[in-house]
């Protein structure tokens, strides 16, 4: 199968405002299209920092410093564009519509289930009620939660269970038809059954969307992902196909980590 890149991270370094030293140093990592890339590594190694660089959520807070490139494929022109060059608010908005993000804890907005899913669409200018209804339903079906909530679309999303809320958040992101979705430990706050549902959903999503997922769960990474990146104290130690990383790691550190010798 031809490997098609959607993203390419080049010599990326990142330092938080006021931090004494960089949290990420010289990261080089490809992200393949319609594949699941897992990022693993001990707590504090910089997984979230890297993930949050990809849709530039960091830029909500001032004075962070970064160098290098994060190239994102522009599907229309088939060319890569460096997202770190983005300066205008409109382009940020466009970037975040193309690169969605799911957080560790479900983050339903304080509004109804329907409005949660319609939120991004409305921001994007979709006004037609019929179009909205359709897209909301498709997104909720896509997130495998339609059956559970089709009768309570007008109810507040705060009343759903944690697992349902997380799937709602995925539906909300999916509704925008992003090219990439970033997941930051999406199941670490959930029970095993909800976790399974989310994992199935993520595997399902990769048909249309490229996925980067941070996880602390080795089984999850090996079950789910096609590629795995192992990070350690701000550096990318090893990146390879998932089975290679888990069965035959090149680096001693990687082996120690996945066999649970530290972490």
């Amino acid at each position: 199968m031809a490997k098609e890149l959607i993203m390419d991270i080049k010599d990326f370094s990142f330092k938080y405002a006021g931090a004494p030293k960089p949290s990420l140093e010289n990261i080089n990592m490809p992200v393949y299209k319609n594949k699941i890339t897992a990022m693993i590594g001990p707590s504090g190694c910089g997984k979230s920092t890297l993930l949050r660089s990809i849709n530039r959520i960091h830029d909500l807070y001032p004075n962070n410093e970064y160098t290098g490139k994060i190239n994102l494929l522009n599907i229309q022109s088939d060319e890569f564009e460096n997202i770190l060059d983005i300066k205008k608010e409109n382009d940020f908005i466009r970037l975040r519509q193309r690169v969605g993000m799911i957080f560790q804890k479900p983050t339903p907005f304080p509004m109804s289930i329907y409005d949660n899913v319609a939120y991004g669409l409305r921001l994007d200018g979709v006004k037609d009620k019929k179009v909205l209804d359709e897209k909301v339903e498709t997104a909720l079906r896509g997130a495998a939660i339609w059956d559970e909530c089709k009768d309570r679309l007008k109810e507040s999303a705060m009343g759903m269970s944690g697992g349902q809320q997380q799937r709602l958040c995925i539906a909300r992101a999916v509704a925008l038809k992003p090219e990439v979705i970033l997941f930051d430990e999406p199941t670490s706050a959930l029970d095993p059954i909800s976790t399974k549902a989310i994992e199935e959903l993520i595997s399902e999503l990769k048909k249309d969307i490229s996925i980067v997922i941070v996880t602390h769960n080795m089984q999850q990474a090996s079950r789910l992902s096609d590629y795995t990146a192992f990070m350690y104290i701000g550096e990318l130690i090893e990146y390879n196909k998932t089975d290679k990383i888990f069965l035959n790691p090149k680096e001693k550190l990687t082996e120690d980590y996945i066999t649970g010798r530290f972490g």
Partner: protein, 338 residues
């Protein structure tokens, strides 16, 4: 261990009960003290704009008095008798045997002082409305600025300044308002310096920092991830404030508005300096008038009898008023909250 638990529960329970007891006892005390006025003036008190006005009513002569009068002064003519008939109705309403002190036996004219709360009630409502209309948008603006927009180096100093302003005693606002602010208001809007408008605006300025500080604190409770996920959907700052922060912090924001409203309703000193203390329905925003707390503060010292119970009636009205406003605001805005 169990024992501590027990004591803790009891203490918590009795503290909560204490509040209820204080509340009810204030209510009862106000009601009992206001009762004479409530019985005398009824609900008409609320729409009567006369305060401390002496009216004279002739009371019908008793049979014996008529006889006595006829024999004494033959010159007494018919018109007097007509007047008696005219006033007969009023007398039925107002007069009672108990207030015999006021009846001048020689002329049969009964003097009575009537009290109506309309002017201070209107003054209170209007000054509070002006204060709220002025302060709510500005306080929200300040809060949004501090919670979301201000650069780091401004958040602390501006936040501190707001908290300091909130801590200034109201009498100082009154003095400042009187000497510096009132002339400015007069220059801009005309009318008199001491007026409903001046009082309302200073009241607004006074509750502003308080409202802004609490609103900012409420907004700051919005989790960062929630805001981030809205940004991650392509929301702008304004949309995040409008769609995420306001709904999320709604309860706290409304709480801050209600608390400020309560403060404005009951504020005495600042308003006493500025409202003019004139018992007159204000013809315009720039006319002087009076508010309930100011009436109370100005008159309690030398009040007695009807005036005293009328003052309590006013206090009772203010109490019920605050209660209704706060109760309905809570009910209306906070229903359906989990």
């Amino acid at each position: 261990m169990l024992n501590k638990e027990f004591i803790f529960k009891k203490v918590a329970f009795s503290s909560a009960t204490l509040i209820l007891i204080v509340l009810t006892s204030i209510f009862i005390m106000l009601f009992i003290s206001a009762k004479p006025a409530i019985e005398k003036y009824g609900l008409h008190f609320l729409v009567d704009s006369n305060w401390n006005k002496t009216i004279e009513t002739k009371i019908p002569l008793t049979q014996a008095q008529i006889l006595a009068k006829k024999t004494k002064t033959q010159s007494s003519d018919n018109s007097d008798m007509n007047d008696d008939n005219l006033f007969a109705d009023d007398t039925l309403v107002l007069g009672d045997d108990a207030s015999g002190d006021n009846v001048d036996v020689s002329t049969n004219i009964k003097t009575d002082t009537i009290f109506g709360g309309y002017v201070p009630i209107v003054g209170t409502i209007l000054s509070t409305l002006i204060a709220m209309a002025f302060s709510i948008p500005i306080a929200m603006g300040i809060a949004v600025f501090l919670a979301e927009i201000a650069p780091d180096f401004l958040i602390k100093p501006v936040g501190m300044a707001i908290e300091l302003l909130a801590a200034i005693p109201s009498i100082i606002y009154g003095m400042w308002g009187l000497f510096y602010f009132a002339p400015i208001v007069q220059n801009i809007f005309g009318g008199s310096q001491m007026s409903l408008l001046t009082a309302g605006l200073v009241l607004g300025i006074m509750i502003l920092p308080f409202m802004a500080a609490i609103t900012r604190d409420a907004m700051n409770t919005t989790p960062d991830v929630l805001k981030e996920s809205a940004y991650a959907m392509g929301a702008t700052k304004f949309e995040v404030v409008k769609d995420i922060i306001f709904p999320y912090a709604k309860v706290g924001i409304i709480g801050s508005v209600i608390l400020s409203l309560g403060r404005a309703l009951g504020e005495t000193m600042a308003v006493a300096f500025l409202i003019g203390s004139v018992f007159k329905v204000p013809g315009s925003l720039t006319s002087p008038t009076i508010s309930i707390p100011v009436v109370l503060a100005n008159n309690f010292g030398e009040a007695s009898g009807d005036m005293m119970s009328s003052l309590f009636y006013l206090a009772f009205v203010l109490f019920v008023f605050s209660f209704i406003i706060i109760g309905s605001a809570k009910f209306y805005f906070l229903r359906g909250r989990r």
